[in-house]
């Protein structure tokens, strides 16, 4: 790579070399005169850079099995939530219980686990809440997808760098960087089931090299009338929950950047009616609903560095609010309230140092303080208090390092270790080792081991209503050891094939276990094993066509009994493509996913199902206006997802065919 050679050291000598070169150019007509091909190659250089610059570390070299979804992918396929993105990604599947969206990865998706085994980040900021460890994936996070630059989806354990909750995947939503050029865009969407959504975004520059981006979104949906056979009785509307599935949501975010300093903020809130009679509430009562709010503000300074490296300092404050209104059968109906409220602040320091030519060392430390963690449950009238748990002043800290060593023949060894210390249960160490390098031309091989953990949540530890849910202060963190080998092979026609084999061992799995006649309690229940193979191919043969096909075969079993886990499909298959129909003005998108059979809580086996979404996307007015017509579940497949422990229903029916028409306009598209 380096061509170390003596340099012309005197201008006379340099001029002589130039003259010599010029003379040769005259003698040899093909030298010194750029050819037509050279002219085009020179322009093409910038094109390749644009794609590569989105991720300065190439995916092929990342010490994980990773997928990047770009903003352009999101626009073309019309994905409106993170869950809609993830259900089309190799190894991922989703479950919807008509209140929250749950994401399973590689065959592991405990019913109603609130996604506490996946770490969700927005611009590197942790979004998992600190009461339940939950991450919002569906409409409970009504983010403007237009504001997203890319979504980095990293499979496998990430605790060696990120700490808690990064057991099965780390998902980083990277928003668009504010630009100095002013841009404004507005949009609206009208869809089936009385759904409408609106967006606004602005970006622009200000004085003193300041750039700002702001976006906001609002969502309203009437929902559907739903039938549940478990409630099919004359006094329960013959199983129909009518007008009890609606939701409203809203969010706002901003980025303010001035040179090395940035301030970012995010806020979202969603109200959802619960039609399923969850937690033994009155079935179909239109007053039963949950509210979820999440927000943060973060100040970051990134010092670009000295010869030794760069460092970054982040200060942040986060808040989380949950509220539930639950109506129970009585005369008059008994109203019960449920709240969770927390505020926390933290600081993170990270330094990336180059030590010599073959070593990059990352050092980091975090300190996080929970100002308040409050859980309370009560009946309104007559007033009766079931739970009041209020914790203050809890502090957790961590230190971590990662060393990337360049070995021979472009192989790289990554070693990492992070120690997290919690006031509630003590310390936990999570190591990581990865060896990545070229096996031969166009083939990249990755061998990886990592450990990750999920701390018992404050809900698991301290929520106790004596009757239905019991606390367990003696819970220990759940851990996972992961072994994976992955290969990436470049193929002709701009295609890439990937495959991987993996084995996860989940120790001290935290799961809700029936206790006594009607109560449940979170317990460390044992060891679970997940093994699988994934194969995928992506191609961009030209003409704007993009296509991919993926297959995941997986098995998630109890390591002692060998029983298959609930909500664990053994086959997942995906296919998607985008084809320009009329130049770049009109394109067709197609997504099909096959999800294999899953066991429910009552050990029923659901049917496998295939669902296809299609869309027509039109760009007019030189790209300043976009119209999109989409059909989700276009073939009107009837299918259901397994329900959680809090539901009487074993199966939750999912949406049939739904249409949407989206319109956006502005110079900021």
């Amino acid at each position: 790579m380096s061509t170390a050679r003596p340099c012309p050291r005197r201008r006379r000598a340099q001029r002589a070399s130039v003259l010599l070169w010029a003379a040769l150019a005259l003698l040899l007509p093909n030298m010194g005169v750029a050819t037509e091909k050279e002219a085009f190659d020179l322009v093409k250089e910038e094109c390749l850079v644009e794609a590569a610059a989105r991720r300065l570390q190439p995916l092929a070299e990342a010490p994980s099995s990773a997928t990047v979804i770009t903003g352009a992918d999101i626009q073309r396929h019309g994905w409106t939530t993170l869950a809609e993105v993830l259900r089309n990604i190799r190894g991922f599947y989703v479950t919807y219980d008509r209140n929250y969206w749950y994401v399973g990865v590689r065959g592991f998706g405990r019913p109603a686990d609130w996604n506490d085994r996946i770490l969700l980040l927005i611009d590197g900021h942790v979004m998992n809440g600190n009461i339940y460890g939950d991450a919002y994936m569906g409409s409970e996070l009504p983010i403007d997808m237009e504001a997203i630059d890319r979504i980095e989806i990293v499979r496998g354990p990430g605790s060696a760098l990120y700490g808690s909750n990064a057991l099965f995947a780390v998902i980083n939503v990277v928003t668009k960087t504010p630009t100095a050029k002013r841009g404004v865009a507005v949009g609206a969407d009208k869809a089936s089931f009385g759904t409408s959504e609106g967006w606004f975004s602005f970006t622009g520059g200000g004085p003193a090299d300041t750039r700002i981006a702001v976006s906001a979104t609002g969502l309203r949906s009437a929902g559907q009338d739903l039938y549940f056979r478990e409630y099919d009785a004359p006094d329960l509307g013959n199983g129909w929950a009518r007008g009890a599935d609606g939701e409203t949501g809203r969010s706002a975010m901003f980025s303010l950047i001035r040179r090395d300093l940035s301030v970012r903020g995010f806020w979202s809130s969603r109200d959802k009616h619960v039609p399923t009679g969850a937690w033994e509430t009155t079935f179909g009562h239109d007053g039963t609903k949950s509210t979820d709010e999440r927000g943060y503000i973060e100040l970051a300074y990134r010092y670009p560095g000295t010869r030794l490296g760069s460092y970054e300092v982040k200060l942040y404050h986060d808040w989380y609010r949950y509220g539930g209104i639950w109506f129970y059968e009585d005369d008059p109906p008994l109203e019960s309230r449920d709240i969770g409220r927390s505020n926390w602040s933290g600081v993170e320091l990270r330094d990336i140092a180059r030590l010599g030519t073959h070593s990059i060392l990352t050092l980091g430390a975090t300190l996080e303080h929970d100002w308040e963690v409050h859980q309370e449950v009560w009946d309104v009238d007559p007033y009766y208090l079931y739970v009041r748990s209020r914790l203050t002043g809890l502090t957790d800290w961590s230190v971590y390092f990662q060393e990337e060593l360049a070995l021979v023949r472009q192989w790289r060894l990554t070693l990492g270790l992070r120690r997290d210390d919690y006031e509630t249960f003590g310390a936990v160490n999570n190591p990581r080792v990865a060896l990545v390098g070229p096996a031969r031309d166009g083939t990249q091989l990755k061998l990886m081991y990592g450990r990750a953990f999920r701390p018992p949540s404050y809900y698991d530890l301290y929520y106790d209503d004596v009757d239905a849910t019991l606390s367990n202060p003696n819970l220990l963190p759940e851990t996972v050891d992961t072994y994976e080998a992955a290969v990436e092979q470049r193929l002709p026609l701009h295609s890439v094939a990937q495959w991987s084999v993996y084995r996860y061992m989940v120790h001290r799995l935290i799961d809700q276990v029936p206790v006594g006649e009607s109560a449940v309690q979170s317990q460390n229940v044992g060891t679970v094993r997940t093994t699988g193979v994934e194969i995928g191919i992506e191609t961009s043969p030209g003409g704007g066509i993009e296509a991919s096909a993926d297959l995941a075969l997986q098995s998630a079993r109890d390591d002692e009994t060998e029983d298959r886990l609930t909500n664990a499909p053994e086959i997942l298959a995906y296919g998607r493509f985008f084809v320009p129909v009329v130049g770049d003005r009109l394109g067709l998108s197609w997504d099909t996913r096959w999800v294999g059979a899953r066991y429910t809580n009552s050990r029923q086996k659901t049917s496998g199902y295939a669902v296809t979404d299609i869309g027509l996307v039109g760009n007019i007015l030189d790209g300043h206006m976009r119209l999109a017509l989409r059909a989700r579940n276009v073939f009107n497949a009837a299918y259901s997802h397994p329900g959680g422990n809090e539901l009487l229903e074993d199966l939750i029916p999912q949406d049939r065919r739904a249409w949407s028409l989206e319109f956006r306009v502005g110079n900021g598209l």
Partner: protein, 300 residues
Amino acid sequence: LWLYVLMGAAGLAGPSEAAGLPRVAIVLSSELLAYQEAVTGFLSEVDCEAEHFNLEGDLSNADRVLSSALSREPDVVFAVGAKAAIACREVPDDVPVVFCMVQEPERYDLPTKNMTGVTNTVDEIQQLRLLLEVKRSISKVAVPYSPEYSAAALQRAQEAARALNLSIIPVPIGSEATAASAVRDRMSEAEAIWFIPDPIVATPAVFDLLLAYSLDKRIPLMTFARSLVRSGALFASYSAPETMGAQAAELVKRVMTHNDAGGITIPPSRQLYSVNLRTARALGIAIPPAVVAQADSVFR
């Protein structure tokens, strides 16, 4: 490479004379001839002890190449081409970076505070003035471009056209496959075509398409490279890589003398143009002798 060997041989002057000369790490995006010419121009203007590094067209080599370059503790890094410039964003603040041969530095958040450079751009007004000198009656100029890459370039073209009382007909092209329909649908009123260096549009197939259209409709085709004029375009306006390299050398001197790493970019100091008289005859255009006389290259 051959050139380098010759240049290296010509530049051998004895190790003892290296003392006190600034150390320059030259990072190339790839082996493209234009980049090598920029290096030639650079080295003709600055006394230095240089070492050469090459990303070989792949940004994924950046970590390795930069580690190697920085381990030599250079006083300045000279980045040639967009990939090299992007890679050099990661160079620590205390090492100044001078780049050249980058078309749209702002697209890559360049320059940063320790970077300065020479853009690979040609003044739009100058290009349109040249077009008017070639054919005064022109009022509408079609610009095939991709919205993805060249929205800003189109905007600059429109501003320049407005200043000269011309109007631009934007011809958005999403891919090579859709170029023919875009040309057919949107260029009927065009009196000239401006073929800009857009990564999507600047392909041999689109060039052939536009050249055929130009000859068929007998309207001028203005391009960005001398080689395309030789292939049949009426004329091109461009900057010489050697000139940009030499300008970068001046920036290096300024950085070394004033310790002023800048955070600025400057355009090329000299614009060149080529004309094809055979094409002019085919189009029925009489190019003024003064224009021919000042051309860098004339294809007859």
